[in-house]
Amino acid sequence: MNNLESLLGGFATVISPENLLFALIGVTLGTLVGVLPGIGPAVTIALLLPVTYNFSDPVGAFIMFAGIYYGAMYGGSTTSILLNTPGESASVATALEGHQMARRGKARAALATAAIGSFVAGLISTLLLAFVAEPLGRLAVTFRATDYFALMVLALVAVTALVGSSLVRGLISLCFGILIGFIGLDNQSGQARFTFDNPALFDGIDVVLLIIGLFAIGETLYVMVKGRTRPGQVTPLEPKQPGTFMWLTRSEWRRSIPAWLRGSAFGFPFGVLPSGGAELPTFMSYTYEKNRSKGKNEFGSGAIEGVAGPEAANNASFSGVLVPLLTLGLPTSATAAVLLAAFQIFNLQPGPQFMTKSPDLVWAVIASLFIGNVLLLALNLPLIRLWVKVLQVPRPVLYASILVFASLGIYSVSGSIIDVMIAFGIGIIAFFMRQFDFPVAPAILGAILGPELELQFRRALTLSNGNLGTFIERPLTVVILLLALLALLLPYLPKITAKLRGRSPATAGKLSFGDED
């Protein structure tokens, strides 16, 4: 029961009027930015990072981030349901059924099952996180440099293989990120690398700058070129129905609850595994719910399970993603990468030592996830009319504000005009990446994990006196590296199995999922 005590300790740290205010601000800002089509939780946190730069206490900042995350995620579902324009690929499944529900006059039920489902999944998965994190952290202490190297290779390769529609384009994006990560002075030898003799580049390119450039600026340019700055058609909310509890009828509750639980069961484990965040579990949950309901024929015209399951999976996967992030320092989704950057701003390095060195903060972070969840439920359903209003705000105004926030974020991170220019340049590259269907998430992970990967690689070699064989001496390392190889082949498995069975491979598609969170 030690974990429960620690968790209660976390709550004691978190629950103060000041921190609750931070959570409130976080949820509100997160929802505000998150309802923008194309702007998901990762970008929202990146854009709002500067707000917390001068926080003396990281606890307050992380409570705010938890609020921002949940707010942004729920804002995304609101947009998907009422506008049918999912903000990120994890909301695509929600849009499929949710928008149909809204069109049939069941918008409130769809929004409620999304919000309550997120809440339930958040509670379950955060509890799981609380119980899984510590034993895994203890295990992680025994890991050696070679194991870390292998784990990072696995995380990078698996995410790249699962995200986007082409492995080659994904790997190119990954290499782009790693190359960006090289820029600056080498940590160990102090030599300048890829700086083109420009002292402004000696410190390297800040990850926040990269994230804002890749996501916020790139996305705004893309949205503009695609002509999506015209307002969409907001499906009107129907009047409240009598005989409902929290906007759901008795039968809707009965249908939603099992779907929430199943969604959480998909979300958490796939969040823990390096599968690139939420899109895989949300689609799996959607497909599962669809197959289960065969015969009812409601799927495609607004089945409540099709909203309840994926939304729960989406939220549960976030707590799952936090497991490798907190215990190993390993981000496996764009959102986790942004959170890692946020930790680093406060000079905190998540990883095995993190759990033992600053347990108070870890438990406070976990407790703040609960708070964020509760506030989300308390704010979003009653305030839904406000969010509908936000959806009706003209898009040019919203996207112009995003650019203002983006520039402010970059400027306050560095105070240098050159950095702002670099971020704009990265934004232009990101725009072209979107035009030619290169996934963006691998670039972020590459830039964050690339330097770590090299560090562990060289550390392992130093320990073994330069013997490259050290990577195949430990069975654990070899197993993880083999898994990475398998992950590379995974997208082609349908083709390979088709070939093995002697059929034409042309009919079997490549297994793939969307980009970004």
Binding site: G38, P50, V51, Y53, N54, N84, E88, V92, S166, V168, R169, L171, I172, C175, I178, L179, F182, D186, Q188, S189, Q191, A192, R193, F194, F196, T220, L221, M224, V225, K226, G227, R228, P394, P396, Y399, A400, S401, L403, V404, S407, L408, S412, G415, I417, V420, M421, F424, I428, R434, Q435, F436, G450, E454, F457, R458, L461, T462, G466, L468, G514
Partner: protein, 163 residues
């Protein structure tokens, strides 16, 4: 990224050629830069080994991208994925506006530069309501400036206003 509207299926065959060419040129430049990193040889523990590996991987992947594109054109008449470039003029104007904004930020000051940039960006993005854009632009920059400098303690350029 999955909005189900216009322009989605359209492809351009020349685009990926240019992308591949740019990537190959960048790869070669970086290869030279790798050799310029001080140090001798490519000792796996040294600062040159890892960049060399990634640059070589980059070059190989770029070549694969190029050849897949050519092969796809030969086989199906369609190359690698590429979306149509539309509304490039406003996009270019927006980028220029961003650059000017960054350049004048220090001298003009955050308040004025941001308000002007907001109005310009909103217009380029398709807004047609001067009164609204000006009101929102001035209010947004004022709120951000005072919130960040007064409440959050982040320094922003004062510029010509001197407040």
């Amino acid at each position: 990224m999955h909005e189900l509207d216009e322009d989605h299926a359209s492809t351009s065959k020349t685009g990926p050629f240019i992308v591949a060419a740019v990537m190959l040129v960048a790869g070669v430049v970086l290869l030279f830069q790798t050799f310029r990193i001080p140090g001798e040889g490519f000792d796996p523990q040294g600062p040159r080994f890892f960049p060399l590996c990634i640059v070589l991987a980059w070059l190989v992947l770029s070549a694969i991208y190029l050849s897949t594109h050519i092969l796809k054109i030969i086989r199906t008449g369609k190359g690698e994925a590429a979306e149509k470039f539309t509304r490039m003029v406003p996009a270019a104007i927006l980028i220029v506006a961003l650059i000017i904004y960054a350049l004048v930020l220090d001298s003009v000051g955050y308040l004025i530069a941001t308000a002007l940039f907001f109005i310009a960006a909103a217009r380029v993005l398709g807004s047609r309501n001067w009164a609204r854009d000006i009101t929102v632009g001035v209010l947004l920059s004022a709120v951000l400036y005072f919130a960040f400098t007064q409440a959050l303690g982040v320094r922003l350029p004062e510029g010509i206003l001197g407040i």
